[in-house]
């Protein structure tokens, strides 16, 4: 896979928990803001 730096962030829409509530989060909502997307392996791992 090619390096993504300098490329448009791949788009998505996912189920999410925001402030304790179920909702959907779309990458389209990031426009105009600095955003950090943190991928992590699994909930409840130790690190």
């Amino acid at each position: 896979m090619d390096c993504l730096v300098g490329k448009p962030a791949p788009a998505f829409e996912l189920n999410a928990v925001v402030n304790g509530e179920f909702t959907k989060v779309s990458s389209a909502s990031f426009k105009g803001k600095w955003t950090v997307l943190l991928f992590y392996p699994l909930d409840f791992t130790f690190v």
């Binding site: 998505f12 304790g20 991928f39 392996p41 690190v47």
Partner: protein
């Protein structure tokens, strides 16, 4: 700032409500996104063959362009300080146009990206 894993939003909800001493992250206010099946992790190049994600961080600018990536194998966590430093440096560059040499931090001298700018920077660094 958003967290993403291949867990469901149901798992995320319990994870956010479970005490730190029990392996949860109670008190964290980060939105958590449910990438069940890992399609989004795959599109960002962080999905392992076993179906879970690496520890990948992606800084996306206001135009939707990725400016910075880190990827760790699962056993080692990220540096929050370094993530913040890089965000501040990219924001500084976007605002002022000057570039940020190695180990730049807010308040440190930046550089005009020209030969004269380099000379000015190196003179000041002496």
């Amino acid at each position: 700032m958003l967290g993403v894993s291949v867990d469901s939003h149901f798992s995320h909800r319990v994870y956010l409500k479970t005490a730190r001493s029990e392996g949860g992250i109670e008190g964290v206010t980060l939105p958590l996104l449910a990438d069940l099946g890992g399609a989004v992790a795959r599109s960002y190049g962080v999905l392992l063959d076993m179906g879970i994600s690496l520890r990948g961080s992606f800084l996306i600018d206001p135009d939707g362009v990725i400016q910075h990536v880190t990827m760790n194998a699962p056993p080692v966590g990220r540096s929050v300080d370094e993530t913040i430093r890089v965000i501040e440096a990219f924001q500084f560059h976007k605002q002022h146009g000057e570039v940020c040499p190695a180990n730049w931090k807010p308040g440190a001298k930046s550089m005009k990206p020209t030969l004269d700018g380099l000379k000015d920077y190196m003179r000041a660094a002496k």
